[in-house]
Symmetry: C2
Subunit: 183 residues, 2 copies
Amino acid sequence: MRRIAAALLHHPVVDRQGRVVTTAITNLDLHDIARSAHTYALEAFFIVHPVAAQRALAERVQRHWTLGSGARRIPDRTAPMSMLRVVSSLDEAISAFDTDAEIWTTSARRSPGALSFDDARARLRCEGASVLLVFGTGWGLCPELHARATAHLDPILSPRSDGYNHLSVRAAAAIVFDRLMSL
Amino acid sequence: MRRIAAALLHHPVVDRQGRVVTTAITNLDLHDIARSAHTYALEAFFIVHPVAAQRALAERVQRHWTLGSGARRIPDRTAPMSMLRVVSSLDEAISAFDTDAEIWTTSARRSPGALSFDDARARLRCEGASVLLVFGTGWGLCPELHARATAHLDPILSPRSDGYNHLSVRAAAAIVFDRLMSL
């Protein structure tokens, strides 16, 4: 299996109107996605935020679960929260993880040439570069990030006839990890 | 496809020591699981809590997203939050959904005779009774609930060698819906 990590981007992402924005950190994203990433044997989970005060918040939440009272109260969260790494940009995440890593982006929208989950699952089981799975907050990653990626994963499609598809990023990340990494 | 709904129980569930307890509602469970349930075409999502003040809290969160400022700000959440039904017990959920519904319980632990996800997926596509998928908060559903169920779903297993498996109930519900209901 290739080395795999995930990154949650708060910038550059788009809002409902497609404008590039910076979103605020949602505390629960940190431990929900860290627990999912750890359960599915990812190596690291990067929280990417350009604002120092927001990174300090993420680090404080991390310390609560790794060193503070949270670690004593719910020790099962210590291991996943220890794999969390708070960085200021996607480039910093790549430097910290593996400078040769491939970027695989995710989206709730279809795009031409996207990688199917079956193919992605098979690719991860062949030898190759490390993979950084990138998730966007807000209304998703900005188009430039997809253009820069080695692969763009298929969206998670709804079985509904109206195509409703508004999963939280926490739910989407859990499903992506399960589709790619489950036994 | 059979009619399917989900229920999130806050009582009777167990704590780390296996004692039967009542957990508090986590606001984010409501809209995360509702969005996942709606995306995967479930018919209803029941929040089960025996304490009236906690039910009132859940109903206030629901109104925020269906009638209040949340509905105007993020209209995509209105449909999933409209399928949320706040009840005091599992029996009340069954009465409101379908008195002939089968109860299918979920757990993070293995149990003998559990239903595999492949078999569960196939069963849902055959004619049969409605199915209520039941998820527990805290450290999971109390044993009596599993004993009462028609089926007990296999746990979501980790590919890790140490078997770490501490998904949030939000992540677990998303993965279960995806495994059972995805296209």
